[in-house]
């Protein structure tokens, strides 16, 4: 265990951990919202995120981001942000329609919804991983080769953005890391206020507390569920945008590991709890980098899962407790 290294590089490690943890947190929101309302593990949420990363990448490619600079680059990136959010939201709504609504209608057991989500997750990931073959059926693989090629390997947008970095003492701070952290916290505050104060937000909370009574009071359950998926999708889109700025690379199965981690973060903070998702994500991210520094990066994931088990032993409903509806914090 290398304590000396950990302490002498604590600020640097913490910033790295917070930045990646913020991405966990934004993805975790999707899990937490759906769980709060439906008590379902939305296993396919990781693919919602993955489609967002590709929307971002394709937009940058289509608008010529590689050669752009200055204002034009900023405009392209904003367009990329919106397309990532739109793509993720569409996929999330599609998921709700195809994989969940039929089950909810039939009042199916909860586990079968998990299986349906797993199946949908396979389908979505493989559709992306086979896009070269599918485009080939329509004879589009030559025209679109830039987009559909490399279906099974990394797709990169490195070199598009040369973000400024600041050096303070022996700490290097990337402007992207700062942006990621600020954006995640900002979005979380906005969303928290939305759920607390707005009419729609009240509807979500009411449905998550007691769907039948909420329905009687005039809250449309189907609408509310759709709204939940929509918000989760939008947040995943933002996460995808920030992730691509930071990592610059995506792949058809990029969602799997991140999804597992984000779900862990959601549980860690208290599933169903928005603030819990933020806290869980940040704690998980920092724990991972500190753990990597102490024990070696090979133990990173082990550290994350051991932390989860330990926290659940002492706080069986996560750090901040569960429940979107009761909205206690």
């Amino acid at each position: 265990m290398n304590f000396e290294f950990l302490f002498s590089n604590l600020p640097q490690l913490t910033i790295g951990g917070l930045a990646f943890g913020a991405i966990y947190a934004l993805i975790a929101l999707g899990y937490t919202m759906v769980y709060g309302v439906l008590q379902l593990i939305n296993f396919a949420h990781s693919e919602v995120f993955m489609y967002g990363t590709f929307a971002m990448l394709w937009t940058v490619m289509a608008l010529g981001g590689a050669d752009a600079g200055g204002i034009k680059l900023v405009a392209i990136l904003i367009a990329a942000l919106f397309s990532a959010m739109a793509m993720s939201a569409i996929i999330a709504l599609l998921l709700e329609r195809v994989a969940y609504r039929p089950l909810i209608k039939k009042d199916a057991p909860r586990l079968i919804a998990l299986i349906s989500a797993i199946g949908a997750s396979f389908v979505l990931a493989e559709l992306m991983g086979l896009r070269d073959r599918i485009a080939g059926w329509f004879g589009l693989d030559d025209n679109l080769s830039e987009y559909v090629g490399k279906a099974r390997i990394n797709n990169s947008m490195a070199g598009v953005l040369d973000a400024p970095r600041w050096k303070i003492g022996n700490v290097t701070i990337s402007s992207i890391d700062v942006l990621v952290i600020v954006a995640a916290v900002g979005m979380m505050i906005l969303l928290d206020q939305f759920v607390r104060r707005s009419r729609l937000g009240k509807g979500i909370r009411a449905t998550s507390q007691d769907p039948e009574t909420a329905a009687l009071m005039g809250v449309n359950p189907t609408r509310t569920i759709q709204l939940t998926f929509l918000i989760g999708g939008l947040m995943a889109g933002i996460a995808a945008f920030l992730y691509m700025l930071k990592i610059e690379t995506t792949k058809f199965d990029v969602g799997f590991l991140l999804g597992v981690k984000a779900f862990t973060a959601a549980v860690l903070g208290g599933i169903g709890n928005l603030r819990g998702a933020l806290l869980g994500g940040l704690v998980l991210g920092v724990a991972e980098t500190w753990g990597s520094a102490l024990f070696g990066t090979e133990w990173r994931h082990v550290v994350a899962f051991v932390l989860l088990v330990v926290i659940l032993l002492f706080r069986p409903t996560g750090l901040l407790g569960e429940s979107l509806g009761k909205a206690r914090a």
């Binding site: 590089n9 390997i153 990394n154 520094a293 990066t297």
Partner: protein
């Protein structure tokens, strides 16, 4: 398991296979299930590809499949009897290997296997191929211990980790004259094996080590370790997928030394790292494409598949070419093929193709390549 004499029975005798009456000989060429016997010389012969076509490792499998496919297509262009390349998709997992290898061993028309692609599946399938007498040439499995199992059918068309590791270390010591080297690996058999050998060879000049996991994308802790140790060079044992992301984050983190990697990174996809990739040293036991034969291969490959040859495509082409040369010589069974492969000694596109008695390539030269102006260019042999 040859099927030259079979008893025929009525379909009525289905019930637990009783009452066998009529006798007869059949040559079951039409059979779809498990292939028929030989008969008419070098026709109806097949080669098998054994490795990932789908699944998480499919990206690494694709160039290998295409390399072998190119060799077979070129052979078929002017052959009377076409050779078929059958793909046995293991998804790169040792789980699938035994059932698939048994199937390959049971199909006598398959007289050579290009693969298995990874060391794990090689270890699981190796005993079965050895028992079935199926000659195999792997274009990509580099675990040194695979050759020590006593499987007489095992061959390797590339240098194992033990040949490439010391060369990479030598380059770091002699050419780069690095005073401190940081060694990273990806916990895969290939990467960890290679990094371990580099670490041992470099000895005291290693200023730190770390292990990432394939599939990870955030390396901030590793980057901090590197910048803290201030090495002149970083050696990474692993594949291009992680290398591309790692070098970007290392450069962003302020590392300005030399990045040294091995043949698992010699792939056009590595150039996706753009400026960060510039100056990377790639060691590879493969002949540079200044050699005309290699250049022709690269051009043909690009013409057929619309992309530059990826990692291990050339090795796979070589492996398939050896079997095809045997078939062209009129070989139609595994036993003769095995002898042929063992005695083979011709120039391939990656190296002189000749195997020692353990199945390792007899004569491996390691070359250094460097990334310059967005291309991987040869620098010369590491002697």
């Amino acid at each position: 398991m040859r099927r030259n004499k079979v008893f025929a029975a009525g379909a009525a005798a289905l019930a637990l296979g009783l009452s066998l009456t009529a006798c007869g000989t059949t040559d079951d060429k039409d059979s779809g299930s498990s292939g028929g016997g030989g008969g008419d010389a070098a026709c109806d012969l097949k080669l098998a590809f054994f490795g990932p076509e789908t699944g998480p490792a499919a990206g690494l499998g694709k160039p290998i499949i295409q390399g072998a496919q190119l060799a077979v297509d070129q052979y078929n262009d002017d052959a009377d009897c076409e050779v078929e390349l059958v793909k046995y998709d293991s998804q790169g997992s040792p789980d699938e290997a035994p059932s698939l290898a048994t199937e390959v061993a049971g199909d006598e028309s398959i007289i050579g296997v290009v693969g298995p692609a990874f060391s794990g599946e090689s270890a699981a399938a190796g005993p079965i191929f050895a028992e079935g007498g199926v000659p195999t040439i792997t274009p990509s499995a580099t675990n040194p211990t695979l050759a020590d199992n006593g499987w007489d059918t095992f061959h390797r068309a590339l240098g194992n980790d033990a040949t490439q590791g010391p060369a990479a270390a030598k380059y770091i010591q002699d050419t780069l004259q690095a005073k401190g080297t940081f060694v990273i690996d990806d916990a895969s058999e290939y990467g960890a094996g290679l990094a371990g050998i580099v670490e041992d060879t470099l000895g005291d000049t290693v200023v730190g080590t770390d292990t990432i996991q394939a599939g990870d994308t955030d390396f901030s802790a590793t980057v901090t370790k590197v910048t803290d140790a201030k090495p002149d060079a970083v050696f990474f044992g692993g594949y291009y997928a992680e290398a591309t992301i790692l070098i970007g984050q290392l450069r962003n983190g302020g590392f300005d030394g030399t990045f040294v990697v091995a043949d698992g990174v010699k792939d056009p996809a590595y150039l996706d790292a753009k400026d960060a990739a510039e100056g990377t040293i790639i060691t590879c036991p493969c002949i540079p494409d200044t050699d005309p034969a290699v250049a022709t291969f690269a051009a043909d490959y690009e013409a057929e598949f619309g992309e530059a040859p990826g990692t291990y495509a050339a090795e796979s082409f070589d492996a398939a070419s050896i079997f095809l040369a045997g078939i062209a010589d009129g070989i139609d069974n595994r036993e003769d093929m095995l002898t042929f492969v063992n005695d083979y000694d011709e120039k391939g596109i990656t190296k002189q193709l000749k195997f020692d008695d353990k199945g390792e390539p007899a004569d491996v030269h390691v070359y250094a390549y460097t990334v310059k102006d967005g291309a991987i260019v040869p620098e010369g042999e590491i002697k």
